[in-house]
């Protein structure tokens, strides 16, 4: 009898727990609707990997909201054209080693004016290795950067010696080398000004940056793993005025869940398309699709000193060109990517200023099986290569079908066994093998620009100064002629003229092919039917959130 009572009590207890658990959540359920009364844009997001300190953000989960909250000196329009935002003027000296920056009257969201000091102190904070900011390297061209890298002997508040405050509205930047692209670099999030209150408690600011917003939106709340809300900034007078009342970045566990919510009208916009929908999203009557060539370029790199493929040798050049011409990029984009990629014709992107689709040497990026075979045989006459050339890629990024197709295409043209694939399970392992220089064949590379300039694609990826682990030149390509052109362009104040020189640099790359461009990832995504206007993508392949409206 006693035991029966126990069992009954246990059952009743469990039932009560369940009921109370569900009951309490039902009352809290109304918050799910999140700002549906006003015209907030509900946007797809992932949980930021760091907090909202602009210089410490290195992925889109934090990057998207940060871009909307923190204005910089310059901003870019949808066609990558730069114009002054907080800056009144940005003036380089004649060889682009020193910049004088004057500021407009601008306010932080707590009402404090944005002063020159808010820039110099913020930049120094991020550059200072003691503060362990992921964006530190962006400041390496500023004079005094090297002195801030010995973390053991720093306190964290040391300043970059190259930054000088002239008055409240003016400061100067001395660079350690000429850099005509610096005027564009300052448009990157890491260069945002920070309010005085930030330096009192950077940690608290990262969790709740509502005092330091200068952009079209002001931070409202961040519920971890749920959403990040921001409302329209009423005091904002810049180039990107908000056409809606705010943005609610909803954090999703997967893009498939988000897509289903867009179909059902519970979410307004996402900047990607799940693999399962990539074939059908443009015809899906429940969503508004977007799909155009974007700023991200996908390439693969063959290490420069790899045997039989060495840059600067005749054999290497022949083989690289042969491999490149053996790949049917058009079929790859249509069949494997179902139209979500556009065949590459250069080393930058169609969204980059100074882009041209008709540079001399771009025929090396076109499918030409006969020529490819001819060049390959010529190379074999110099020195026999038994292969295979392995293509390494990370499996977690969904690149398998792409590299299977690349290897197939090469094997079909150049003969069986020339190419093979080497899948590596995770991005981490994959990047480790690259940074430790353990790759013994070709490997997947790609680039998403930090600011829209050919410099960001070319110098960061192919200059000698970025090789040997000092930058993103993962193949350690070194060509004095190319370096000289890059330096020349960097010292050319006029953007048009500089872009012409960058194009000459690209011609060298098209001939030597340190990396082989495959395609530009399309900016693609979907919006719900509720979005009435303003759904487009910017130079970062991200939706133009501030332009979207549901009215």
């Amino acid at each position: 009898m006693k035991k029966k009572a126990l069992a009954f009590a246990a059952a009743a207890c469990a039932a009560a727990m369940l009921l109370s658990g569900c009951g309490s959540s039902n009352s809290g359920d109304s918050t799910t609707a999140g700002g549906s009364g006003s015209s907030y844009i509900l946007a797809y997001a992932s949980e930021p990997q760091k907090t909202f300190i602009p210089g410490n953000i290195n992925e889109t989960g934090g990057g998207k909201p940060a871009d909307m909250m923190f204005a910089r000196l310059v901003s870019f329009d949808d066609n990558s054209k730069a114009s002054n935002e907080i800056a009144e003027s940005v003036t380089p000296n004649e060889n682009a080693t020193e910049y004088t920056i004057k500021l407009k009257d601008w306010k932080f969201s707590n009402g404090d004016p944005v002063k020159a000091e808010n820039f110099t102190k913020a930049w120094s904070y991020v550059a200072n290795a003691k503060n362990a900011m992921l964006g530190s390297s962006f400041f390496q061209t500023i004079a005094g950067y090297d002195a801030l890298q010995d973390a053991d002997n720093l306190k964290g508040d040391e300043q970059l010696s190259g930054l000088k405050v002239v008055d409240d509205k003016t400061f100067t930047v001395a660079l350690s080398a000429p850099d005509s692209a610096f005027g564009l670099k300052i448009g990157y999030t890491a260069f945002a000004p920070l309010p005085d209150s930030f330096f009192d408690d950077p940690k608290a600011f990262g969790e709740n940056p509502k005092d330091g917003c200068t952009g079209p939106y002001v931070f409202e709340s961040w519920k971890h793993n749920q959403d990040i809300m921001m409302k329209k900034n009423p005091d904002y007078k810049g180039n990107r005025p908000a056409q809606n009342d705010g943005i609610d970045f909803k954090i999703y566990t997967s893009d498939t869940a988000a897509y289903a919510d867009i179909q059902a009208g519970n979410l307004d916009v996402m900047e990607s398309v799940p693999a399962a929908q990539s074939k059908t999203f443009e015809k899906d009557p429940k969503v508004q699709p977007f799909n155009e060539a974007g700023s991200v370029i996908q390439t693969f790199t063959i290490p420069s000193n790899m045997e039989h493929f060495q840059n600067g040798t005749e054999e290497g050049e022949l083989r690289r060109q042969a491999i490149s011409m053996a790949i049917d990029r058009k079929a790859l984009c249509e069949k494997v990517l179902s139209g979500t990629g556009t065949p590459a014709t250069d080393f930058t992107s169609p969204k980059t200023p100074g882009y041209s689709d008709s540079l001399p040497g771009k025929e090396n990026l076109e499918y030409n099986p006969d020529k490819a075979k001819e060049l390959w045989d010529k190379a074999n006459a110099i020195s026999k290569f038994d292969g295979p050339l392995t293509f390494s890629y990370n499996v977690d990024g969904g690149a398998k079908p792409i590299y299977d197709a690349v290897a197939n295409s090469i094997n079909n043209v150049l003969g069986k066994g020339v190419a093979s694939t080497n899948p590596i399970p995770t991005f981490q392992e994959f990047r480790d093998a690259i940074t430790d220089r353990k790759m013994t064949g070709a490997f997947r590379t790609g680039w998403q620009p930090d600011y829209p300039s050919p410099e960001n694609y070319l110098v960061q990826l192919f200059a000698s100064s970025a090789a040997d682990g000092k930058g993103s030149n993962d193949g350690d390509f070194k060509d004095p002629e190319f370096d000289a052109l890059m330096d020349q362009a960097a010292a050319t104040g006029d953007e048009e003229a500089a872009n012409k020189i960058y194009q000459q640099g690209e011609e060298i790359l098209l001939k030597e092919l340190p990396a082989i461009p495959l395609y530009y990832s399309n900016a693609n995504g979907v919006a719900s039917k509720a979005v009435k206007s303003g759904f487009a993508f910017n130079w970062q392949n991200l939706p133009t959130y501030e332009e979207m409206s549901k009215k």
Binding site: K3, K4, A7, A14, M17, L18, G21, C22, S25, N26, G28, D29, T31, T32, G34, P48, Q49, K50, T51, N58, A129, K130, N131, A132, L134, S137, Q149, A151, K203, G206, K223, H224, N225, Q226, D227, K250, I251, Y252, T253, S254, T256, A257, A258, A260, D261, Q263, A264, T426, F427, Q428, E429, R431, D432, T445, G446, W447, A466, G469, G471, S472
Partner: protein, 308 residues
């Protein structure tokens, strides 16, 4: 009874130590450097990377890292994630929703599993027995993500009967479909288990004896057949509740539930050792407690079982 309980609880200590060490070692052995990965395809600033490694003790040998973790865990300080969030906060966010989901799935599979199992078992060979059998077979053989996506598309997107995703602070209705998907496979197993147990127990001697003594069919079935048939079912259910909590990853991902399964997966991907170990330890404790309750319930179901 008290002594028995105490002994069982003391057994937990070596189990916790062993599990944490094993899981910590596994996370440590994961290839790839989590700090380098933070820089993405940007150049790694070694001075910055060294600072981050020092902050998370990643620059120390494995056994030192583990002992530091244990020492801090004793003071209930489980450390921070790489995003700077206290691990304990992450867990506090993830567990409630998963507990809710797992309990709903548990009740779903227990009720429907046992009820359909009983119907099937007592009415073997009837047409509805066949239907139940076929459906349960189907649920076992179709992977959860297929049932999940199908359910989401049909019930959510197409017919708008149930919410498409659960979202933030999910309530009963939001979690109904995910819970059904989560519990569907176990439900199918329980149906088959109950059915098999009942049909074998019906043929036992004691049932014939009970009938021969003139007991009514109703009380033979309820007091003898059913009670005996439920012991393996209770065992299964008890272990399943812990499995439901840790194994909800697929339904959590499909239905946008930021629960334990999803968090575990994310933390493994990011190489967050402290977080993975903390979650697994908690899950293990839940598992141990569930097992203990099941063992206690045996005594209720079967008077022959006694604990001293």
């Amino acid at each position: 009874m008290g002594k028995y309980l105490l002994r069982r609880i003391l057994q937990v200590i070596p189990v916790v130590l062993g599990t944490t060490l094993l899981v910590y070692a596994l996370v440590f052995a994961l290839p790839g450097d989590p700090v380098k990965a933070m820089f993405g395809d940007k150049p790694v600033n070694e001075a910055v990377a060294a600072q981050i490694r020092a902050e998370y003790n990643l620059d120390k040998p494995f056994i030192v890292q583990y002992l530091l973790f244990l020492r801090n865990a004793l003071t209930l300080d489980f450390g921070n994630t790489f995003a700077g969030q206290p691990v304990i906060d992450e867990i506090a966010r993830a567990f409630p929703v998963t507990i809710k989901l797992a309990l709903m799935a548990f009740v779903f599979e227990a009720i429907f599993g046992v009820v359909f199992g009983i119907i099937s078992g007592f009415k073997k060979g009837k047409w509805y027995d066949t239907v139940i059998l076929i459906v349960s077979l189907l649920l076992i053989s179709v992977p959860t993500f297929v049932t999940g996506f199908l359910g989401q598309y049909l019930l959510g997107v197409k017919w708008s009967i149930l919410p498409v995703t659960a979202g933030n602070n999910p309530g009963f209705i939001d979690l109904l479909l995910p819970a059904m998907v989560l519990g569907s496979v176990s439900m199918a197993y329980i149906i088959r288990l109950t059915r098999a147990e009942i049909s074998s127990n019906i043929a036992e001697d004691y049932v014939r004896t009970a009938r021969a003594k003139g007991m009514s069919n109703r009380s033979v079935m309820l007091r003898h057949v059913l009670r005996n048939s439920l012991i393996p079912v209770v065992t299964y259910l008890g272990q399943d509740i812990a499995a439901l909590m840790g194994g909800a990853m697929i339904s959590e991902t499909i239905f946008n539930i930021h629960g334990v399964g999803w968090l575990t997966y994310q933390s493994i991907l990011k190489g967050e050792g402290n977080l993975v170990v903390s979650i697994v330890t908690l899950l293990m404790l839940i598992f141990v407690v569930c097992n203990l309750i099941v063992d206690m319930l045996y005594a209720v179901l079967d008077p022959r079982i006694r604990y001293a």
